[in-house]
């Protein structure tokens, strides 16, 4: 397994649960690493590849829900699957509301956890791709001049060159030149694609 292989993190204060889940996950050929506290997990280096977190709600020190909130405050979107021995409704509602992928009660079917883990990894893979894409688009936008950015913002609203020229107080010809440069710098094949890019970065 290389450093980009998917990895499943497990945080549970019970060492028995840690080792049994690590074994279960490795039995389907996935890499797993366990921690017995939230702090221990946070000290661990973040993986390069896709990952997910199997997290016990009840933990000493920082609880599972606290860790979720903390991770949400970071630019670090790791999908979380909560596991609990004694969940109550308010807890599960809170966990899901704050973006948890799943909420499993112990003892659970192995397939339920393995499915959840695989879904989470898949989701993380896609999310990371999307992030990479957004990063790429942002890089391209960075390369635009400030005038080009102004024109870009108006082009994606569907305005015609003439209208844009009027809006910016310049000639239609100049706008045409700007537009060609924008298409080039943004590596867009069509206006439709340019609009999609703008949508992805919420421009």
């Amino acid at each position: 397994m290389n450093e980009d292989s998917p990895i499943v993190f497990i945080v549970d204060d019970d060492p028995s649960i840690c080792s049994s889940l690590t074994r279960l996950i490795s039995s389907i050929g996935l890499q797993a690493k366990s921690f017995t506290s939230a702090q221990e997990f946070l000290q661990h280096e973040r993986p390069k590849g896709p990952c997910c977190l199997v997290l016990d709600i009840r933990l000493p020190g920082l609880s599972g829900l606290d860790l979720q909130d903390y991770l949400n405050s970071l630019p670090y979107n790791i999908p979380i699957i909560f596991i609990t021995g004694c969940g109550n409704i308010p807890m599960s509602v809170r966990a899901i509301k704050h973006g948890a992928m799943n909420f499993l009660e112990k003892p659970f079917e192995d397939q339920a956890l393995l499915d959840a883990v695989q879904n989470a990894i898949e989701q993380h893979k896609q999310a990371r791709q999307k992030e990479a894409e957004i990063f790429e688009i942002q890089q391209r936008i960075e390369s635009l001049t400030s005038r080009e950015r102004e024109v870009f913002a108006l082009v994606v609203t569907g305005m015609l060159n003439k209208q844009i020229a009027a809006e910016l107080g310049t000639s239609e010809k100049t706008i045409k030149v700007h537009r060609a440069r924008i298409m080039n710098k943004m590596k867009a094949e069509s206006i439709a694609e340019l609009v999609r890019m703008a949508g992805k970065v919420n421009l």
């Binding site: 649960i17 039995s27 112990k106």
Partner: protein, 438 residues
């Protein structure tokens, strides 16, 4: 009397002889009496008269002494009879040789029966062999503790507790019996029992605070059993998968099985530990005022406040909406957390023993209760364990207190947690939902 005063012994001998002579003379046996030796004794009538006087004097003295002796005996008898303790002496075989009046009154025995008095007559049956054994060993010169408490019984069957102080009676270096003073300690025993009972009551209260509602307990049991069960299941499922690989990983399967055995044992331990617990049923959800409940618990803690010399600072928010939950169980959580806080400050200077109790509304649906002590806080090493069942730092603790607190609060849809204060001390908090009218 004559100047060369004869000794008492001489006088007595002479008197006896002269009396014999006089008797002989009056009896007319002159020849037998008037031997040379006897004549010398009868020097003069005057001498005989002197002897008579001496004899009278002696008799008077004896009478006087006898009266004095009787008087002193009477005095002694009065002291002995009026003494608060019962007195009894016995001989080496345990036969009663003397009792005082107080003894007769205390044990309800009439004077005539004293001669035939035996242990059986005044000891509760279960004490007879013990006391006989003590007596026998003492008679053999063994060193037996002087004080002893036992239950006595009167002829009418009434039982009472006594304390006996026994000392051996030694004559010429030989033990010939014992003398005992016996005190009725029924009142003392009653007081002791009352103290014992109040201690028991307090113990029960503390016990209640540890072993609480059935549902709280069930949640706790469920959690403790779920952990090993979940681990067993995952290990078994992993093992099945390892076996289904093209080249099965037998080593991983072996490890999984070893862990399964270990967790099975752990589940056994949980069940064994729980057998000793007592349960209280009925989980009743109602709306109630948390501040009232807190006030009630504080009044229950009156003795602890005095004993540990702490002050309680109340920071209870006004106009809190009622909360919804099991009032009794929640009160027990409050009690438990406060007791922990109080005990955590036992070693502090009196001035710094302050327990802060706080209630507040954190949002429209949540009430938070906090108890803050200024003890040493919870060590890093204990942090992991503190809410776990059967974990305790107290010598006589069961380690169920916080585990049950947590299960109760969670069963009431709340959360419980703690934070260590930066300037030492621990904050325990729990939340409860605000009551909402249906």
């Amino acid at each position: 009397m004559s100047p060369d005063k004869p000794t008492y012994k001489e006088l007595e001998t002479r008197l006896a002889r002269s009396e014999a002579i006089i008797a002989s003379l009056t009896g007319g046996e002159i020849d037998a009496v008037l031997s040379g030796e006897n004549i010398s004794l009868l020097r003069t009538v005057e001498e005989v008269e002197t002897m008579r006087l001496v004899r009278c004097e002696l008799e008077r003295l004896i009478e006087e002494r006898t009266a004095e002796l009787a008087q002193s005996r009477e005095k002694y008898r009065r002291v002995v009879d009026n003494i608060h303790d019962a007195l009894i002496t016995d001989d080496i075989q345990g036969r009663v040789t003397f009792v005082n009046d107080r003894f007769l009154k205390m044990f309800g025995i009439s004077l005539e029966k004293v001669d035939s008095l035996r242990l059986e007559n005044y000891l509760a049956p279960e004490w007879q062999s013990v006391l006989r054994d003590r007596h026998d060993r003492r008679m053999r010169g063994k060193d037996i503790p002087a004080f002893f408490e036992y239950e006595a019984i009167r002829p009418d069957g009434k039982r009472f507790w006594v304390e006996e102080l026994v000392t051996p009676v030694v004559e010429n270096g030989i033990i010939i019996g014992t003398q005992s003073s016996i005190r009725d300690i029924t009142e003392r025993k009653r007081a002791e029992k009352a103290i014992e009972e109040s201690k028991l009551l307090r113990k029960e209260l503390e016990h209640m605070s540890r072993v609480i509602s059935l549902s709280g307990l069930t949640a706790s049991i469920a959690h403790e059993l779920n952990q090993p069960l979940a681990a067993i299941r995952s290990n078994a499922q992993a093992a099945v998968r390892f076996l289904s690989w093209d080249s099965p990983d037998i080593e991983e399967v072996r490890k999984a099985l070893v862990d399964i055995i270990k967790d099975n044992r752990r589940a056994d331990d949980v069940i064994r530990g729980l057998r000793s617990l007592v349960k209280r049923e009925n989980f009743e959800l109602i709306d109630f005022d948390i501040n009232t409940a807190v006030h009630e618990i504080i009044s229950l803690l009156y003795n602890e406040v005095l004993e540990y010399e702490i002050s309680i600072k109340m920071e209870l928010a006004d106009d809190l909406p009622p909360v919804y939950g099991d009032r009794v169980a929640v009160s027990q959580v409050v009690l438990n957390l406060m007791l922990n806080g109080i005990q955590a400050m036992a070693g502090l200077e009196i001035d710094s023993r302050e327990l802060v109790v706080r209630t507040r509304q954190t949002d429209s649906t949540t009430i938070e209760f906090s108890v803050i002590d200024f003890g040493n806080g919870i060590g890093e090493d204990q942090k992991e364990q503190i809410f776990k069942p059967f974990y305790t730092t107290k010598a006589n603790g069961m380690g169920m207190g916080l585990a049950i607190c947590r299960s109760i609060i969670e069963a009431n849809d709340g959360l419980i947690w703690f934070t260590n204060e930066p300037d030492r001390g621990t904050n325990f908090h729990f939340t409860l939902p605000v009551f909402r009218k249906a």
